[in-house]
Amino acid sequence: MTNITSLTLSELVKNIKDKKLSSEETTKAYIERGEKSQDLNTYITEDFSNALKKSKIFDQKPNFDLKLPGVPIAVKDLFCTNGVKTTAGSKMLNNFIPTYESTVTQNIWNEGAILLGKLNCDEFAMGSSNETSFFGNVQSPIDKDLVPGGSSGGSASALAANLTPITIGTDTGGSIRQPASFTGTVGLKPTYGSCSRYGIVAFASSLDQAGPMSKNVKDCALLQEVISTYDEKDSTSINFKRNEYSKELTNNIKGMKIGIPKEYRVDGMPKEIEDLWSKGIEYIKDCGAEIIEITLPHTNYALPTYYIVAPAEASSNLARYDGVKYGFRSKGENLIDMYERTRSEGFGSEVQRRIMIGTYVLSSGYYDAYYLKAQKVRKLIKNDFDDAYKKVDAILTPSTPSAAFKIGEKTNDPISMYLNDIFTVPVNLAGLPAISIPAGLDAKGYPLGLQIIGKAFDEQKILNIAYAMEEKIQFKNNITDWWIK
């Protein structure tokens, strides 16, 4: 087997189960490729020697009944891993070693997977280009000097560059779907409450969800099946009947009704995105599903709402970083001075900006005007979706308003950076599941994605639609190994 790392997860699992590949051989292949790919800056922490040890142990007594038997996987550095440094891309947690494991990663290890290492991300998952990380920006394998998107940029880049067969990210406003779209990979943001938030470094708790990222829809379904469990350690985990998503996956979507929201035709959207969307509509029709025009009238208010709700929750969540019990500490003349210096030196500028926005909108005299107002508009946005789903099974939109951009292109203008998430943010505000699938390339050969949004708990349906569309699209990523040393 010459090209282990270019296999999909399903192919890899089959080869391991058929004893054509050992876990050790597989793990070695990913480690070697990881070592040659330093220029992408995808890893914050490599756990290669432990991974190799674990793969040998697996091979000595392999259990092929597991769903991820001896499969090496790298994960976003926002998931706490017991005994392995977890930084959230921040100087604040540069020396933090968790004493517990996140439920989502524990679920993966329980199915036989092996940790390769922790992947770079925007600091505390705040960013859309993976340029806010304390450990430097991540390079996209698609082209030199191109961003992979964010905040799960290290995950997307590592996946597209074949440094991990699948990965997990987190999505607060688009942090799985936007980088998936930028790198030609598949990314699912599950329904709020589907995957446990226990052990994930918190950003905005009413929006955060972990989710799978993969090379195809089938792998995505399998990983979602593994990570989505009810967990009493997360107070907002929801106990509903979870499907065996990969087993129940079908490309038969005949008779389904797919909504096209007119409000997603935004000003200044490149023609390429418009064309991609039209093509997507044709594919849906080819599959025997019906297209229905719908309206989501409050779409334009989603981003301003998000930039109140998310920073407000972040300012509260990040209050815990005070330099006392763990993480970075700066010396101060007294306790208060120590807090203020620690937070000023430990957080990067985007994180500080968001904490300050959040602090302001929650402060005395402004709470009603901003935070309460935003919660009311959030209700209107959710009502829009509830109304739409009386008529349709799912909604089709572009994943992002443009293809990936160059490193440094948008770092000076926060608003232009925030606009990247215009199509993904409404989904988080309404708590819905949505998947981004690669659907084409732009003139420069950069990937473009389409997003399918479902009703709450309808992961199976959007996976099926994605599966049917994937077959029609026949997407081929245009990646040469230019960064390999």
Binding site: P304, G431, A456
Partner: protein
């Protein structure tokens, strides 16, 4: 609405993040452009709308207050920037 340097100082104090004077001006500029963007919400009449606090339509569960973790004091203290044998150490707060 405009966020001036005095407001920046106030937010800086509330959020326990010291802001150097040299950076305060740029920060004020950034925050003003973000708040201009946010002001769009005022176009909407939300008088009779219920605020949405969580999309998870569940009542929070109660559980019995039992210790489940093992005694891992040493491991936890290891993450502390400054500790002695049994405690987290902070700058002196009482004279």
């Amino acid at each position: 609405m405009t966020i001036d340097l005095k407001t920046i100082k106030h937010i800086s104090k509330l959020s326990r993040i010291s802001v150097e004077d040299s950076k305060a001006k740029k920060l004020a500029g950034d925050l003003n452009s973000i708040f201009d963007f946010i002001e769009k919400l005022n176009e909407l009449d939300t008088e009779n709308i219920e605020p949405l606090t969580s999309v998870a339509e569940i009542t929070l569960k109660l559980r019995s207050d039992e210790v489940k973790s093992e005694n891992i004091r040493e491991q936890i203290l290891k993450n502390s920037p400054d500790e002695n044998e049994d405690f987290f150490v902070v700058p002196r707060v009482v004279e």
